[in-house]
Each structure stands twice: as C-alpha cells, then as structure tokens.
C-alpha cells in the first residue's frame, strides 16, 4: 500500500531523513517510534505528501504521492498540532472537507458530532487543545480515508476519549481495511493497537518488524547461580545489556525463547526467569545498542 523507497530529505545541510525504507500493508496499523528529533515528523510529512523527497520515491497504491490530488483524496493527515482554517467553525470545516473529499459521509459526521457532543457553531480555535484534537478526528473519520496519517494523535486526550478514538480507528481498519501510520512517544499507546513497528533514529530506520515478532525476538532473563557464573555460556548468547543485582544477573537477550532457555537451563541455575519485554523496554535497549543510552544525570 505505502512504499517508502530509499527516501532522503535534507534541510539546509541537515539530513533529517536518510535513505529511509518502510513498507506498510493495506489494513495495517503501523507505529513509527523514535528518539526526539529522530525524523519522525519529517518522515510522516513526506508520506503525507507535504514534503518532496530529495532522493528516493514514495508511492501509495503504486502512485507517487507528492502533489498528487488523486492520492490525496484518499488520505487524511492529522499533524501534531491539528490545523484548521482561521476562524472556522466545525460546521464550516466540515463543509470545506465535504467539497474536496469524494468519500465524505455526512451521516458519519453527524453521528460523530452527536456522540462527541461538539458545538459545531463554535469557532474551533476557541476550543481547548484536547477538543481541537477530537474535532480533527471527527473530520478525518468523516472523510472515510483509505490512509490515515497521525502524528502524536492521542496527546492531550483524556482516557475515555482515547479509548473511544481507538475504537473508532479499529472499526475502520476491520471494516474498510483503512491503513494507519501513527507516530507516538507513548509506546504503551501503540502497543495495544499497532501490528507493525518502525524504529527511527537520527533519520535512519533501525528496525521494521511485526510487533509480535519484535517481542518474541528479545527477552529479559533473570538468572542466578549457586557457585561460579558460567561466563562462557553467557558469552554465547546475544546479550544487549547486563546488570548485576546482588547475585542475580539481569540480561536482555536477543534470540529465540526455546534456544535461550535450553542453553541457560543446561548450566543449572538456581533461579531462571525469562520474560517478554514491553515495547518501551525494547525501544530503550535497542536505542542503547545504537549509542543512545539512558544516562542517569545527577543534579544537586
């Protein structure tokens, strides 16, 4: 559905995105995560067809997306700060979108407005940040897009609204096979709904994988021995991180669960525990492996 092929984008001399390569299937929810300033928003704007790539190509359904109204009719982009025309009310914005999106559903719009209890005659800029975001979602979903691009979409929404919005997104994915590209700092948020994850760091895509695969490929191992630690065995594992807490070793190990278990159990540990990692932990350790480690800063 969405193919980003070796795309680079340079601002002055700063290369915000370098040879990024991602591929998003139809009906998939793709989560883009990255460190601050990693190039998430730039990549998202490239996919949304707002920036033109300096190198490489981006296609949606086989067609180049930049300045392509045919492609853009099928997609909706909610930026990190939702944008509305100055002094417009929700009603006026709805009329505007209805005139440019052929798939606009008035019925849907009315249902959503009623459900979110929005006063459509009030100017949007007078609403709070959270409300503006809800209005952006109502308008986006009313256009019934095939591709929905969301930059930090759930920021500033309360728990009830977040759940409501997620549920609406899931409905569109399961019923119409809508494709979603979503970026977020809140990894917990992405963990429930995404099926694919891309990690971007300093403009480069480090990892692109199915979320379940990502999770089954990396484990937290806690192990303790009565006598000496069989270091030669531990060395054979692909360890991302080790920590010693008293006599208990805590390692982050890449690889297949069965293989790791077998190898470690053969060394007769007194304690052995193998846990999956949360997306947040995967992010931290993968970034640590790429020179972006957590430093606990001591302040006076």
């Amino acid at each position: 559905m969405i193919e980003v092929q070796k795309v680079s984008k340079v601002f002055d001399r700063y290369e915000a995105v370098q040879e990024a390569q991602i591929s998003i299937q139809k009906g998939s929810i793709y989560g883009l995560i990255g460190s601050n300033g990693a190039g998430k928003t730039t990549l998202i704007k490239l996919v949304a067809g707002i920036y033109q790539p300096d190198l490489g190509r981006i296609t949606i359904d086989g067609q180049d997306n930049f300045e392509n109204t045919k492609v853009k009719k099928k997609m909706f982009y909610i930026p990190d700060h939702p944008y509305f025309l100055t002094h417009y009310t929700t009603l006026q914005m709805a009329q505007f979108y209805r005139s440019i999106y052929p798939n606009w559903s008035q019925e849907r719009y009315e249902t959503l407005v009623a459900s979110f209890k929005v006063n459509v005659k009030k100017k949007i800029h007078t609403f709070s940040k959270g409300w503006q975001r809800q209005i952006a979602f109502i308008l986006a979903l009313s256009t019934r897009p095939e591709v929905l691009i969301l930059d930090e979409p759930l920021d500033g929404l309360d728990a009830v609204v977040r759940k409501k919005v997620k549920n609406l997104l899931i409905q569109d994915v399961s019923e119409r096979e809508m494709t979603i590209l979503i970026s977020s700092h809140n990894l917990r948020e992405l963990e429930d709904i995404c099926d694919h994850i891309g990690i971007i760091h300093r403009g480069k895509i480090l990892i692109e994988k199915e979320l379940d695969e990502l999770k089954s490929d990396i484990h937290k191992v806690q192990v303790a021995y009565k006598g000496e630690v069989p270091e030669h065995v531990i060395k054979r594992l692909s360890v991302l991180h080790t920590e010693k807490r008293g006599s208990v070793f805590l390692c982050i190990v890449k690889g297949k669960e069965e293989e790791i278990s077998e190898l470690i159990l053969n060394t007769n540990p007194v304690i052995f525990d193998l846990l999956p990692l949360t997306l947040e932990e995967i992010f931290i350790y993968e970034m640590g492996d790429n020179g972006y480690a957590i430093e606990n800063i001591m302040v006076e």
Partner: protein
C-alpha cells in the same frame, strides 16, 4: 466474552491464543460453535483486527478451530489437540514437582516406586470395573 491484559508483557496475540484455548478446553466454547468474527472481537476488545486474524490462524494450525469460507471460524470437535495440550501442561507441572521433590531429598528410587504404585492401583481399579 473475555478481557485481555494490555498492561501485561505477553504479546496480545499470545494472550488471545491462550484465552481462546482455555475457553475451548473448558467447553465454554462448545464443539462446532462459531467463534466471534474478527471484526466483532476487534471492536469489543479494541485491538488490532490483524492480531486477531493471526491468533485465529494459529489456533487453526494447532487444530483447535476450523474455518469455513465466508462463514467464519468454528470450534473443532476433535479431542486430539485438546489432549496433546493437556499432556504438555501436565508434563510441565510434573517437571516442577519432581524437581522440588529431588531438592527436598526424595530419592529417585522413591519417586519411581510412587509412580509404579499409582500405575498398579490404576490398573487394579480398571480391572475391578
């Protein structure tokens, strides 16, 4: 129908497979009963429909459910997969208990004797029926 723990470390897909297996083994979902559609379940649980699809595929591979084109997924009435699942579970439990017994100083001979006794009484019971 059931809840998933989105705070758990376990991938949602694995949780789904386990939950559904549990429901099938305990016959909450009866043989030949239709499973909820992917769409419905996705919406109920607010989780990605692709994840549910994947879980259903896995259950089908393991022989717990079968699918009919255009109709949906149904619980497989065959006991084979259920039994093998139970055997794996029991073996796992035994593993732990045996290890504990050995740590506590129960000898291998004693354990073997225990197993033999149980086997004999089971056979005796069977004869008596």
């Amino acid at each position: 129908m059931f809840e998933l723990d989105t705070r758990s470390r376990k991938p949602i897909y694995e949780q789904l497979v386990e939950k559904l297996k549990e429901l099938i083994m305990n016959e909450v979902l009866k043989p030949d009963e239709q499973l909820p559609s992917v769409r419905m379940l996705a919406q109920q649980l607010t989780i990605n429909p692709n994840t549910i699809q994947k879980a259903y595929r896995e259950l089908e591979n393991q022989g717990f459910i079968y699918s009919q084109k255009g109709k949906g997924s149904f619980v497989n009435p065959s006991e084979e997969s259920k039994d093998s699942e139970k055997i794996t579970a029991v073996k796992g439990e035994l593993d732990k208990l045996i290890l504990e017994a050995l740590y506590l100083g129960i000898t291998v001979e004693e354990l073997i004797q225990l197993v033999k006794d149980k086997d004999a009484s089971k056979r005796g019971g069977a004869k008596g029926d």
